[in-house]
């Protein structure tokens, strides 16, 4: 009963790993964000990151279900 979460760039570096999991079967993206802010209170970049569910950008009210892949996308800087 868990949701897989991908972290990149500054977030990956601060948390120390690219992939983590949190318990849960259904919650909003915003709840995922809050869970991580509670778990890593020193990592404020969770606040400013965009989120993606299954490789598509999502809003905080979008629903995440078990098996979904959630990614935190810090401000991008490609090109």
């Amino acid at each position: 009963m868990s949701i897989r979460i991908l972290l990149f760039a500054e977030l990956e570096e601060k948390v120390g790993t690219r992939q983590i999991e949190i318990d849960g079967t259904e919650m909003t993206a915003g709840e995922v964000r809050n869970t991580l802010l509670e778990k890593y209170p020193e990592v404020s970049a969770f606040n400013s990151a965009m989120m993606a569910i299954n490789e598509e950008y999502a809003d905080d009210q979008d629903v995440v279900r078990e098996g979904d892949l959630v990614a935190f996308i810090p401000p991008v800087s490609g090109g």
């Binding site: 760039a9 570096e13 490789e55 401000p75 490609g78 090109g79």
Partner: protein, 156 residues
């Protein structure tokens, strides 16, 4: 348009390979944008860069940009390759190629593509200077979207 037209790779980009993907008997114009690693940014000397990406999503978003361009310019062909990993000064980070029957469209579409990459494609650059390093994209060094995230309409 083939999905291989939109690639994230971790080896040097061959410009010709990207251009070849957009060749077309009815293209009279090909515009190519090549983004390279610049040594000086705001007086600060870059030693090298590191790019990372959410590869699967980034390739999807590059393909989305290609789709947006084809919707606007139905006769266009688009190919984009972005490199990740460690890059030295003058190395090529990204190559965009757009072919169209007439030149004005090729210029406009190529320009659009690079601006969109900087908005929606999950790729991150870490600058390494002599005195430190930093993931770019934060609000001090570069702000990719005014509201901290893309507008809803920009995303889908």
């Amino acid at each position: 348009m083939n999905n291989n037209n939109f690639e994230i790779i971790n080896t040097p980009i061959q410009i010709n390979e990207v251009i070849n993907k957009v060749e077309d008997r009815n293209a009279g114009a090909i515009n190519t944008f090549i983004g390279t690693v610049r040594e000086l940014t705001k007086g600060k000397k870059t030693v090298y860069l590191k790019y990372d990406a959410y590869i699967s999503m980034a390739e999807k978003k590059l393909a989305q940009i290609g789709g947006e361009i084809q919707k606007e310019y139905p006769e266009s062909k688009v190919a984009i390759t972005h490199r990740i990993g460690e890059l030295a000064i003058s190395d090529i980070a990204v190559v965009i190629a757009v072919s169209t029957p007439h030149r004005a469209d090729a210029f406009a579409a190529s320009r659009y593509a690079i601006e969109r990459i900087k908005e929606i494609v999950p790729i991150w650059k870490k600058e390494h200077w002599e005195d430190g390093e930093k993931w770019m994209g934060d609000q001090l060094e570069h702000k990719p979207y005014p509201e901290g995230k893309p507008e809803k309409g920009d995303l889908n």
